[in-house]
Symmetry: C2
Subunit: 337 residues, 2 copies
DNA sequence: CTGAAAGCGCTAACAC
DNA sequence: GTGTTAGCGCTTTCAG
């Protein structure tokens, strides 16, 4: 029924080794044999079994990707880039979508192990100790993308989140704002949570502004988190004149809240996001934000993983450049009142 | 190095068959053997090789998903749902992201064949004849999700696009609009392109309104397509008072164009989208749209595929209910001039 | 209820 | 250049 390598060999009048050689593009095959094999393959519509190949070669041509949320544009962009790179080299990708369900993580890791994946890109950092232990002594190479994990020295590809948040806050400060609020990300996240908050605080401190904890709200990267936290912020006696959010989605939520409550943006309040997802330039006013080059990070992540798979030397820490995207959600402010 | 089934068998003092039986949860294993095997597995941290399993059992526990664009929220939602269902049954998913690169499609199909995937969910319909032929006589079950393909009788899971577009247009008509424009999708797409345009036309016709071709523009589901087509529409002598777009992304693009040009929405022009992606309720004004239940469609798609894999009888055509989501982008219009 | 043994379809070392 | 052969790690009859 299924046509296999023997069938091709028979039809082409050669041995299975020869067939294997041409299938895998090895040299040392005469032109004549090669042509006959190729003809046989075409006529029989032969397609090698990846299962058998994996078993024999101990390689799966599979890359696992562990991602917190597929519907998040930022991750979708990264995965798109990874998939693109991978498919050029005939690697396939297995998507493991955690969806904030930490129980799934270990299950996924085990599954990936069973599949003999050649490598894994991890974009999720709220991993528990069990998973951490698993990662420490797992058989396949792992690369961290957009995350960093304490006491786990794995290569990671990141922008400098602290500096990026510093730059964003500083931009608001340069515009003349003095009461700048922050809607942070999940503070269990080192990268997107803690680091960005740190950058915000450093900018304020360096500008000689005292940090007002009532201006700092924690969100979980969702639209609603931005919206609801903004509501609270707006009820403050001494309202902020600018808000920096740790994600575009939250920034847009916050911005919409302000507009729904009758404020003008950016006339009354300025907003700054983080990520630069498509939506940022689609909303009105267009959102100023920090550009985190998702596609580039994806590409570099895959290449780094590839290097690791090939036992090449790699840097433990790769920093990708971020940049500020200035659009229409921030306004200069004059200090007279 | 790698611990395999023999090691477990030895440690547990049983044969490999017994180990295999408990790993696969078969009955006919004594409690005692079972416990000993489980203990050995735990201590050895044994994890079966999927490659070997596939080879021996002729099943891969792999589902292929062919998707046009991962960064499109609608597809991301569908995949999330599929992945969720699949992972419950220990299936993994392989993502094949076409990105409008039709050459990749056949390559992917071949790859999936090599992997012995147990089934494929196809969400892309601009397939060429070569791929079509491949699909006709491929070895694994295929299910079409959100698409329909001519002369290829494969089970498909869809909303009734024509009726949905009819309902959307009709809603605008009921609001009193008489000049309703449409920004259609890619007219090479039967489902999202042609069917939705048909529904629009039928609504107009049934309302006794002559179809004005200058009010119909073709887009390709992108933001810019909405934006640019709207520009053209706005330059018409006799401007539309309402616009129906075949996707939310295009509707938002069109809406933004109108606002950028100084029009008020919905006061001057009403907008209606299609899909009901998150962004629709995030933009201001909130976009009225057709809800296409992505998660449900994803779930049903997977279950249908599962049934097909198990040779169960299945309907060739499964229709999922759509609904209208009325928000703030459409306004009633009085007919006085 | 359990074990022996024959593959699953391919790769890769080795011999020619 | 090419063929032979021994696995890769598991499932699955078939005996017992």
């Amino acid at each position: 029924m299924k046509v296999k390598i023997d069938d091709v060999a028979k039809k082409a009048g050669v041995s299975i080794s020869t067939v294997s050689r041409v299938v895998n593009g090895y040299e040392h095959v005469s032109k004549k044999s090669k042509e006959r094999v190729e003809k046989a393959i075409r006529e029989l519509e032969y397609s090698p079994s990846q299962a058998a190949r994996s078993l024999a070669s101990q390689k799966s041509k599979l890359i696992g990707i562990i991602v917190p949320d597929l519907t998040n544009q930022y991750y979708a962009n990264m995965i798109t880039a990874i998939e693109e790179e991978a498919s050029k080299l005939d690697y396939s990708i297995i998507i493991c979508n955690i969806q904030e369900n930490m129980k799934k993580e270990l299950k996924y890791m085990k599954m990936l192990k069973e599949m003999w994946v050649d490598g894994v890109i991890l974009m999720h950092e709220k991993i528990n100790d069990e998973t951490k232990k698993f990662l420490m002594d797992c058989s396949f190479p792992v690369v961290l993308s957009s995350v960093k994990i304490d006491d786990l020295k794995l290569p990671n590809i990141n922008i400098n989140d602290e500096q990026a948040a510093f730059d964003a806050t500083n931009y608001l400060l340069e515009l003349g704002h003095r009461r700048v609020a922050m809607i942070s990300g999940d503070l269990r996240d080192i990268t997107a949570g803690i680091s960005r908050l740190k950058g915000y605080k450093r900018a304020l401190t360096e500008a000689g502004i005292k940090i007002d904890e009532s201006l700092i709200k924690e969100g979980y990267f969702k639209f609603e988190d931005g919206y609801n936290n903004m509501k609270t912020l707006l009820m403050l006696k001494d309202r902020p004149t600018a808000v920096f959010a740790a994600s575009d989605v939250m920034a847009i939520g916050a911005m919409n809240c302000a507009m729904d409550m009758g404020f003008e943006v950016p006339e009354d309040i300025s907003f700054m996001g983080f990520d630069n997802i498509d939506m940022a330039s689609v909303v009105r006013p267009r959102l100023s934000t920090v550009n985190q080059p998702a596609k580039l990070i994806g590409q570099v992540s895959f290449r780094t993983l590839l290097n690791k798979m090939n036992d090449k030397m790699i840097d433990e820490e790769i920093v990708i450049e971020h940049s500020l995207v200035k659009r229409n959600s921030c306004k200069e402010v004059n200090f007279e009142g």
